[in-house]
Amino acid sequence: MPGWLKNPIHLYRSEGVRIRNASAGQRSMQRRSLPKVFLYGRNLAITIAALGIVVSIGYQGAYNIAYAQEILRYLIQGFVVTLQAVAVVIPVGFILGFFFGWGRTSHSWLLRATGTAYVEFFRSLPPLVLIVFSSLLATLFLRNYFFVEDPHAIALWIGVLALAFHSGSYQAEIVRAGILSVPTGQLDAADSIGLTRLQSIFLIVLPQAFRVSLPAVGNEFASVIKDTSLISAIGGMELTFWGTLLFPDALGQDFNLVFIILTEVALLYFVLTFAVVRTVRAIENRFKVPGLEAAAL
């Protein structure tokens, strides 16, 4: 039996709508699921992660349990800091990206120039340089002009914000592309029924741009989560910071401890990234509309 007979075209069904004739237009709408390989890949990742837990538990049992548990406690402490950084970087980056990206599509020369300057500046500098430089500058300013005695904590968060600005510059480009992907005919139609410019933007352009941009934004979220490890350079006591701190000592004691540290650090990043990516995917599915499936990354 030929393949196309075994897998008849699935007519799109949503909210009780059934389309009887699969005409050419509808045919292109059938949901294209990922090749099986990718699904297996995901399961594989989960399996490896699970094995990682087993292995590390095993090692903890076999060797110095108390020390291994102590390591985990420190790592979780670092994980909490990573979580805090992510909780700042993702929303701030998203908001910055949204407004500057939108600004770049504006008719106003000033808004466009501001958006472009922002994107070009923060996209061109290595995030590590941005973080170190901004937190040093912040320390200097806080000490010399605001007479803060211990500016370390504030400077740390300035560094985190710098990372958010960096991520925002990438997201601005995503948002801009999303807005530009909305055909001008949509605006003509919005105008023709009497919607105001502002209504067109909020009711027509942004809802469509949002759907198109979401996968790329999710990708950027996944990427910036791992970039929070850079704040260890300015003394942010996050996950990677603790991992590298515990490393030499573990190396001296027992090589298996090194393995435990690495597995646990990797696992914690994996869990966080996985959760965020899944959340974005869930939002994607919630707002999914045939005809507005985002372009693949």
């Binding site: 709408m29 139609a189 023709s192 029924i193 005809g291 507005l292």
Partner: protein, 241 residues
């Protein structure tokens, strides 16, 4: 109903409309024909102010609409427009496409808007496609939703900008049928089209535009069978093949 006097439109050095005078009476169906680039679409877009003419006056029910005191949104509520490429809002169902003008422009409450939108979709034969998204509809169905969307605003006049040009041949009929019925119901219409069959049977008046000027106007019979102007003759013989 529509009175146009001496409108000009320039795109940089390009002089697209070179002094158009035109009257469309209530209940009249006017077909606009002409070669591509002749200014047909620009003319249509001037009437609902999607394009502002550079010179001249456009009156809608004796109100000069191309003036700074007039909000374009106010004009557009009264002038329905159907596009060549349908331009349905991709993220909204057929029903929501029709409702959005009612709820957001006319501020009708949701239940009433829904009822009206369902009725308009029923009218164009799509009562069973309320919850379908544009991508799930054929071109002909999309264009009929677009007509329903424009009609829902109770416009005084409907503008059709080559409504069947982007359609596969098998869907042209259903759209023209809807338009013919509208004409029968007494809707004032201005239609840019190359569907000569439609123009012949439905139009009260046909105008031929070339290079931004009205070259000739008259009844369909006059224009298609006894064109007075050489350019009209040449064009008509080309499209009638």
């Amino acid at each position: 109903m529509i009175k146009i006097r001496g409108i000009h439109k320039y795109y940089g050095d390009l002089h697209v409309l070179r002094g158009i005078d035109l009257d469309v009476d209530k209940g009249q169906v006017m077909c606009v024909i002409g070669p591509s680039g002749s200014g047909k679409s620009t003319l249509l877009r001037c009437i609902n102010l999607l394009i502002q003419p550079d010179e001249g006056d456009i009156f809608l029910d004796n109100v000069r609409i191309n003036s700074p005191e007039i909000r374009p949104e106010w004009v557009r509520q009264q002038v329905g427009m159907v596009f060549q490429s349908f331009n349905l809002f991709t993220h909204l169902t057929a029903l929501k496409n029709v409702m959005i003008g009612l709820t957001r422009v006319k501020r009708v409450d949701a239940a009433e808007a829904r009822e009206k939108a369902e009725w308009e979709l029923e009218r164009v034969g799509l009562g069973d496609k309320l919850d379908a998204y544009p991508a799930q509809l054929s071109g002909g169905q999309q264009q009929r939703v677009a007509i329903a969307r424009a009609l829902a605003m109770d416009p005084k006049i409907m503008l059709f900008d080559e409504p069947t040009s982007a359609l596969d041949p098998e869907y042209i009929r259903e759209v023209l049928d809807v338009m013919s019925r509208l004409a029968e119901e007494g809707m004032t219409m201005m239609v840019v089209t190359h569907e000569m069959g439609f123009a012949k049977t439905v139009a009260d008046e046909v105008i031929f535009i070339d290079e931004g000027r009205i070259i000739e106007h008259g009844s369909p019979v006059e224009i298609f069978e006894r064109p007075g102007h050489d350019r009209t003759k040449a064009f008509v013989s080309k499209i009638l093949g």
